[in-house]
Subunit: 549 residues, 2 copies
């Protein structure tokens, strides 16, 4: 009778024959891109219309009037800050003189699009969008707005998920899209300098020609802009391998609320001269300054990519597998994603064309492993050896390795399709949490115990980064269920030194919840820094920091 390992080798060998290993020199598979881009969204929105209709409307100008907004199921009331001026004809005249007629947008249809976030969850009522073409124009805009106490919301690709990139009331929208030049690229060092309005995908395409890649990759790359990525400290799909933007961004040019242009646009890997101010702006969501230029370290594009999809019996095995993968795959491990059985069920039941590549069996957890390296044969052998070893340790109960781009994409589709499947399944309460890996799944288990049969609790996410996407699915939104979830989920996360926003940011959505993740002293210091850099508070008001600060 064959041993478990022999069976695995046969299964792996079969998988390799039938599904095989994907490796395409100098071709970017991007199997992880969502099947739509912002541009498609602009053209049709068809794919989203269906999902959006299932969402509970979270805002209501009609209910509260134009000076008050109710956001979120917790009905947080927000009042327009009366210290901010209201636009007048002189303002419009000034901006037209400065930027030219066509860059001063007052058209209602055009404004409707930029007043609304892409999930249609937040909507402001701005009457003006400005389209500066360089940092000097941004500077003059902010200097003017600051002197007039006009509130401003900087906007990049408007793909954020926490209401950070749209006005809350009538803030002037400063759109960075026209500032989209690549300034320089040094092939020896891999350092790219560009304007903030460059669309991530354009940079990816530019670098592809040079044999480099961006150190971050997002589903929204067809629309999001590098300035927005930096301002939100976007995480994305390459963080496990290349680290965060705090490590990759080498320099910034930002315009402060006063209009002062702050030149921190270094192009050096090492520079220990004074406080490293750029980090203040990375992840500050446009509330401390508007990023106008970015200098970023880009890695060479490596030609070999492999994807494996594995089943584990329990969460503890997933954890141990991560540990072993870091050790055995080491420098080529580029993604380690996990999903539980409930997440897989949803994907199988609600996504068209999605199938489980593993034979039907009782698997409790699934893990997607991706490797990225410089040598096709070595990488494949390393992955195979790792899989056999993990099987011998009893960490994996089954698994396949994708053979080509399409198979890799279909495996990524399972993982990436879960949010879509959740939205198709009914109402969903979504949480983007960072939790120490060893405790991460305890929250899912505890939530299941709390909710019993009243809701379906789903756990998946970037296990390699300690990032859990906790989703609670119900037939419809239900206040009774909601009170069982919040504030418990935040309290639990806080108690376990987690973060209530792993990668999406705070924006408007979580400004009042920041104390669950940050100490009062830290929030107080943030508020002091905000006050130092933006004494009138004109930059992206109502966001990031709580009103009490």
């Amino acid at each position: 009778m064959p041993t478990k390992t022999e069976k695995w080798r046969r299964s792996l060998s079969l998988a390799l024959r039938t599904i095989g290993a994907v490796s395409s020199p100098h071709t970017s598979p991007h199997p992880r891109s969502l099947p739509f881009t912002r541009r498609e969204l602009h053209c049709g929105r068809g794919i989203w219309r269906g999902f959006l209709s299932l969402r509970k409307p979270w805002w209501g100008t009609d209910t509260f009037g134009s000076d008050i907004r109710g956001f979120g199921t917790e009905s947080t009331m927000l009042k327009r800050n009366p210290k901010f001026s209201t636009l007048n004809d002189d303002d419009i005249r000034y901006f037209k003189e400065l930027l030219g007629e066509k860059n001063v947008v007052q058209d209602e249809d055009a404004l409707a699009a930029v007043n609304t976030d892409w999930m249609h969850k937040y909507r402001g009522s701005s009457k003006l969008m400005l389209q500066p073409r360089n940092a000097n124009e941004v500077s003059l805009i902010l200097k003017y707005c600051n002197s007039r106490c006009l509130a401003v919301v900087p906007q990049g690709g408007n793909t954020g998920l926490v209401g950070g990139s749209v006005p809350v009331f009538d803030e002037v929208i400063v759109s960075l899209g026209a500032m989209n030049n690549i300034i320089s690229f040094d092939k020896v060092s891999g350092i790219l300098v560009c304007e903030a309005g460059c669309i991530l995908e354009s940079l990816v395409n530019f670098l592809d020609q040079q044999g480099f890649i961006m150190p971050l990759d997002l589903g929204a790359k067809g629309s999001c802009q590098i300035g927005g990525n930096v301002s939100t400290n976007a995480g994305g799909l390459r963080l496990l391998l290349y680290g965060s933007l705090h490590g990759n961004v080498l320099g910034l040019e930002t315009v402060l609320a006063t209009g002062d242009v702050l030149d921190m646009l270094g192009t050096l890997r090492k520079d220990n001269t004074g406080y490293d101010l750029k980090h203040l702006f990375i992840g500050s969501e446009g509330s401390l300054g508007i990023v106008t230029k970015v200098s970023i370290l880009t890695p060479p594009k490596l030609p070999s990519v492999n994807v494996a999809f594995l089943a584990c019996h329990d969460y503890s095995s997933c954890q141990k597998l991560l540990f072993e993968a870091k050790l055995k795959l080491g420098e080529i491990l580029s993604a380690f994603e996990f999903l539980d059985e409930q997440a897989m069920d949803l994907a199988l039941n609600h996504l068209e064309g999605v199938r489980n590549p593993l034979p039907p069996s009782l698997h409790n957890f699934y893990v997607l492993i991706e490797t990225t390296g410089s040598h096709e044969t070595y990488d494949k052998e390393k992955l195979e050896a790792f899989l056999v070893y993990s099987m011998e340790l009893g960490l994996i109960s089954d698994g396949v390795v994708a053979q080509d781009l399409q198979q890799a994409s279909s495996v990524w589709r399972i993982r990436e399709g879960i949010p879509e499947a959740l939205m198709k399944a009914g109402a969903v309460y979504k949480y983007d949490l960072s939790i120490p890996v060893e405790k991460m799944y305890d929250l899912v288990d505890e939530m299941r115990n709390r909710l019993g049969s009243s809701a379906r609790v789903v756990g998946y996410g970037h296990l390699g980064d300690g990032n859990l996407h906790l989703n609670i699915s119900c037939p419809q939104y239900d206040d009774k269920v909601f009170t069982q979830i919040e504030p418990f989920v935040y309290e639990w996360t806080s108690k376990n030194r987690g973060s209530i926003s792993a990668e999406h940011g705070v924006g408007l959505m979580k400004a009042e919840k920041i104390f669950y993740s940050k100490s009062p002293g830290a929030v107080q210091l943030m508020a002091s820094i905000k006050n130092l850099l933006d004494p009138n508070g004109i930059l992206n008001p109502y966001k990031v920091l709580p009103r009490s600060s």
Copy 2:
């Protein structure tokens, strides 16, 4: 007749036979450690005594009296800030009550050691060293000092090179050495949390047992402390592979000048909740707060290390070789160091037992390449293929691959011995610069043209990080030579958007020179932040920022 490539293959094969490839599973080679540690220095200082006697004394209490210091060959006069109080008996009584007698050090001999930096370049006249055992004690010390306006200098291992860790006048020394506990280590995520006073080497040894390494490695690791590493944003020898501390440090606990303990001690790879304040403290050289705890991401220890030593005809070939190495060695490239012929000459003439592993020939540049990976055979094959390829491209004129630890060490000894050789050769003007790689060597050439035969100009450094160590060697210090060097070297660096301090920091040495690397607006903002966090300016005064700010 054999082609160039065939000759290279033979040479490589010979090198591999005679010198071979080094690879030692689960053994840390540390071939790059300097041949001494701070502890040895404490015992003897013999090795350095000889070098130090060649140095021009840069400070002089005798000349200027205890309230004025003259630092540097440019004779910058510095006056004690009269707003700071002078210690009195009540102060001593308070500290003894708080910390206990033995942690309040007034002994003159003990103070002499901590008043002087390890290069004997800077010396203060502090009458008091405090040795807190926890953050609460640090907090109470600073609260008291702030209320009394007593200036403070935080001190870790006192291994800094820019006078940042010693008093300038009579500042109270707060030594972190007693706070040296490891708090936690998570083997799944590789996240280590420890107190600031942990010696880097202790952490390395602790992690070694767990199969992990620190993401930074320094020659001073036997003495330097992690709190000091973080406070100076230490670069070191692993930056090329693992990036800077801004990417690896996940959280900090710091005590502000007011005594407030700022808890930013996250243990998460992703946390986008508000401004990422910890980055303000990374590299601020103890002038914004005292780091008391550190949370850091540590990589798994990979078992395979290879070292190659290569000769290039010109600097352009070194650049191209770096480009190809990034592409072909990709994920396993862990060091790319270079030295010019003059640097090699110095090493050969002044370092005992050092020999050129390459046959005598006219080589203008040498490159040291190190790879670190998870698979011995693959890594060796990759390196060999890369070397053959580079030879075919004409980028390498000769080369060897080390076979064992000893050979790897002897090759690293050439590169690391250069500072020692320079000091043995006579007087030396030293500059630690970051310069875009493509322009880096132009400065060396220009300096040679300026100085002609009056001095020997030597260029070497971390080419992979764009970090040039420019050294100008003369028989003795000579003001005529010096005026040819400065301010030219800083002006040139500034004009080419370089940094006047790549990895050593600003400290006291370069506080007045910061404008060469940072814009006035940036320095002004730094000063505002300093004022916000430390309104009385008690933390590490006279350093980092210029007096004018």
